[in-house]
């Protein structure tokens, strides 16, 4: 058993969490804002995640990926990964890098609220129409741009309270 200083292990845990990707989007779960907290006690790591959409089929995959990543770390004796309902997942939880990654994936990403005017990710026009609130995944809505005539998808968080 390798013994590793607590702060070194905590850094290693965050580093490896940053390598775990969402299975439906090219973005790490840290940039997507899923990690609520990390606790480490005597080599036992406990990570609490905030679910994006409660019915998202990726939640189980993410949980497994996180656990596998954690137990592969030297100094980790055991890992528990749980979802918490303590707080809702909101757009504010997504990092600036995460927004950039979602945008380069071709998604329109609201700055603060889903209710704000949508922007075409291709030409930047506001002259767009919502086609459907329900897109190819639970977290995407579909639109049409009337300026450049492209269809596009917009990142959709649960409705603002």
């Amino acid at each position: 058993m390798v013994t590793i200083a607590a702060d070194t292990l905590e850094r290693a845990v965050w580093d490896i969490l940053a390598t775990v990707e969402d299975p439906e989007l090219p973005i790490s779960i840290v940039d997507l804002g899923l990690v609520r907290d990390v606790r480490i006690e005597d080599g036992r790591v406990s990570v609490r995640l905030v679910p994006t959409w409660i019915a998202c089929p990726a939640l189980g995959v993410i949980r497994r990926r996180v656990r596998d990543a954690l137990v592969s770390l030297a100094g980790v004796r055991d890992a528990a990964v749980d979802y918490t309902y303590d707080e809702p997942w909101t757009l504010e939880r997504v990092t600036a890098r995460g927004r950039a990654q979602l945008a380069s994936h071709g998604l329109s990403v609201p700055r603060c609220r889903f209710a704000e005017p949508p922007v075409c990710p291709y030409c930047g026009s506001h002259d767009v129409v919502a086609e459907s609130l329900f897109g190819p995944t639970l977290c995407r809505a579909t639109y049409l741009c009337r300026s450049c005539r492209n269809p596009f998808e917009r990142f959709k968080p649960p409705a603002e309270a």
Partner: protein
């Protein structure tokens, strides 16, 4: 970490709250299954995807509530969802009825979503964590279902002459079952007395009628006057549920021990 039920000291209150969790989960499971029957059959591709997404979400919500029970009782959530006898399910009859045309499904969605949001707010205010937190989160997700439902209701009721008549007939058919959502049992009394719930089924029903009335008014629909048809909350279901349950559980029953 103790779950929501373990944390309730009084066994009668615990049993009553469990009953409420089962009701919520069963409502979601059954309506989710009904919505999913539109997959591949929606009137247009967007509505097909929308109804399928709503189905997926309701099934996921049902799962989250079953998990709360299973976690406390050390049981298997698939067995909880699929392994009970028909009379052990506690959903209201509204949710088990066949999809009798798109207009019926839309009317049912409008009526149920209004009910569901109000019920989630009650649970959110119950102080019973983590279920209260779950309910707060779900209230935000449900908003999009309600928007979709009301948009379609407006479109159908405002259509050519045939539309309003068909929507009104669907509303008349759904109404007694919708009132059955508020069927009271001793569990409701128990939770009211314990202060877990802050509104009686009768008061919830009045608030729900106040919420759906303006929506129906705007669409030129008349509020039906028929009385409630009850039984679902006590485990009495219609033949439509026997058929649904048989189909829904067919794969699970083929090998209940299988890990998927």
């Amino acid at each position: 970490m103790p779950g929501v039920l373990t944390a309730i000291a009084d066994p009668s209150v615990r049993a009553a709250f469990r009953e409420w969790l089962v009701r919520i989960a069963d409502d979601e499971l059954v309506i989710g299954h009904r919505h999913s029957e539109w997959t591949g059959f929606g009137p247009d591709i967007e509505s097909d995807v929308a109804m399928s997404s709503i189905a997926q979400e309701e099934l996921g919500h049902g799962r989250a509530f079953y998990e709360q029970i299973a976690q406390d009782e050390g049981s298997d959530i698939d067995r909880l969802a699929f392994g009970r006898a028909p009379h052990e399910y506690r959903h209201a009859a509204l949710l088990e009825q066949e999809n009798d045309g798109w207009e019926y499904s839309i009317v049912r969605l409008v009526l149920y979503e209004a009910f569901e949001v109000a019920r989630l707010r009650l649970v959110a205010a119950s102080g019973q964590e983590p279920v209260a937190g779950l309910a707060r989160i779900l209230t935000r997700e449900e908003r999009y279902h309600g928007l979709f439902a009301e948009t379609w209701l407006t479109r159908l009721a405002g259509g050519p002459p045939e539309g309003p008549g068909r929507v009104q007939a669907a509303l008349d058919a759904a109404w007694p079952d919708a009132l059955g959502l508020f069927e009271a049992t001793s569990a409701d009394d128990m939770l009211l007395r314990a202060g877990v719930l802050t509104s009686s089924p009768a008061a919830q029903r009045e608030a729900w009628i106040d919420a759906v009335r303006p929506v129906l008014d705007r669409c030129g629909l008349a509020l039906p006057t028929a009385a409630a048809r009850e039984g679902g909350r006590r485990g009495e279901h219609t033949p439509a549920f026997d058929r649904l349950l048989a189909q829904m559980t067919e794969v699970w029953r083929s090998d209940p021990e299988a890990r998927w």
